[in-house]
Amino acid sequence: MDKRDPFRHNVLTSGHRACSGCGEAMAARMVTDLIGPDAIYVNATGCLQVFTTHNQQSAWQAPWIHSVFANAAAVASGVEAALRAKGKETPVVVQAGDGGTFDIGLQCLSGMIERGHDVLFVCYDNEAYMNTGVQRSSSTPHAVRTTTSPPGRLSQGKHHLKKDVISIIAAHHLPYAATATVAYFPDLKAKVEKAMTIKGPRFLHILSPCPLGWEHDSALSVTVSRLAVETGLFPLVELEHGELTGVMRLAAQRPVEEYLRPQGRFKHLFGSKEGAVELRHLQALADARIRRYGLLSADTEWDTESVAQVQRHGRGGYVSAPQEMDDER
């Protein structure tokens, strides 16, 4: 076990094979250290599973199981049922990518929620099947280049829109569903901690930039995630039992182009008439989302400027790391 950091468990620790600057590794580290090692983590196939458990090594310092791509929510349902039958209260957490949530995993997820299992399902959304080489998923936004939605003579990238999964999940009227992203750690922390106080099925959708697939500088993962929110393209919302109960107000609306330009997956939209149409479409989508959730007008405690502001000596972090560890292991 790795105990280098006295302030953090590092449930997901070093030596994993994620690409340099991986937003999913960053997000998973935040979430799992907020929850701590006294939980059971069920992982779908995907980037997170592959890069953390490569060839007989493991970066996980908590009980962790991977089965197949589509069934993480069902496996977690079984784990949760077993714990319930045994009278144990260990939290159960699913981790899946957008593939394992929006597409191949949607059926099992819907069943898990419908049956009311006490499981937190976390989707790390990097907006494509990244692990297998950047193929599109239903989470891939409109007009994005992927290897299976390439721009070409007849195409401007992905034709369809990004599946509105938070609405689908919220339509199950589960106790808690929320979107978050890595740029706003205090907001993500508040949502994870809130979710952990609630019993029943809970869902977190965390936008996780991918320098490789989104084609941006590895140093810009947090910046890009911030711009996704500030443009209105990725609203930060909370829905409880199907009702909208919280949004992150935008201190100001940034034009989508500020978000698109640093990413090569949108490059084909700049410099052609057809591309310009798609740029306007993306702006219209952002405007529509802002209107729909009232992102500029909501009466909220935090906004995108105030939430991320730093403090001397930090804001406090994670589930406290143990002072003495069992060295017999």
Partner: protein, 397 residues
Amino acid sequence: MKKLLEGSQAVAEAVRLCRPQVVAAYPITPQTHIIERLAQHVADGELAAEFINAESEFGAASIVLGAVAAGARAFTATASQGLLLMTEVLYNIAGMRLPVVMVCANRAVGAPINIFSDHQDSMALRDAGWIQIYVESNQEAADSLIQAYRIAEVCELPVMVCMDGFFLTHTFEPVDLPSQAMVDGYLPAFRFARTLDPTQPMTLGGGSEADNYQEFRVAQHHTMENAQTVIEAFDADFGEQFGRTYGGLVQDYRLAGADTVLLGLGSLMGAVRDVVDRLRDQGQAVGALRLRCFRPFPAQALIEQLRAAQRIIVLEKAFSAGAGGIVAIELRAALQQAGITTTVDSVIGGLGGRDLTPEVIEAIIRGAKPDEHEATCRFAPDHIAPDNINSGEASHG
């Protein structure tokens, strides 16, 4: 004490006696009565388990995978389409060496969709790494289920108990159910070395590459082979404690002096034994051998029982399209390996629930040996020659 029980009910009672903590299933004919019974038991407080209505068989298999990995004994049942749908997970369970036990209510596989019994479903999973036991009667179904948990948990291999859809699941037979105390004496509480537990964290289901993957399969194969001993021993042990045994891997009938032996699986063996008796009365040296354990393939046990036969007929309810009868092909290989040159007459029948009556069985036994220029297998029985079922011809029906 014997009661007249529907096969599904016998299974449900046996499951209850094994004290699973999680039951998960998705309904599919002809398994439904099993899970309905179990749901009622849970609702009435007679079975202290979580009963989970999965959203599909793929989900059901995944739920029991998770439950066992979290240290709970679990149960599921399915058939046909449902079994195929959970294929990915069944391989996963076996690869993780999780002691899951399930019942397959054997049913034909579509297309064309057909709800009646044959063995195509479980046979399609023969490579997945699951122990497969084919039962002949409702009594054996109940008893084998109890044995299955013990086998699974000792070997760390998943076990599939295969029982014929409708012929067993929906048929009433006298069944002697053991007491809870007897079952507790035979089957200890579930303990598993690789349980998901924060006090002993470990990673299950991680990646493997060319330098170590093969070793997983080698270990799996050896454990499967060695499981033959365990299966035999636990059946014998069951006999001592409960007074009933089933021959372990194979169950012979009137093989002494038999020059013709018919090998088969499942519920049809009752009818086969009637035919053997009739033919023996007519002076024919005929015997029967029931293949109980198909995986691991009990080559040694089969060879011992078939060594003396001059003619071996394999009658099976599944086949491999383009290759022939599955059990027949595996038996041929085993015989050849042992230097036995007796030919195997491969007969495939009873597909899609087609009845294998004693008359049909007798005709099969009497039937001519296969000619050299005939196919490697033959189908029985035939019906009226079908029309318009070849591809390329339009169907107006």
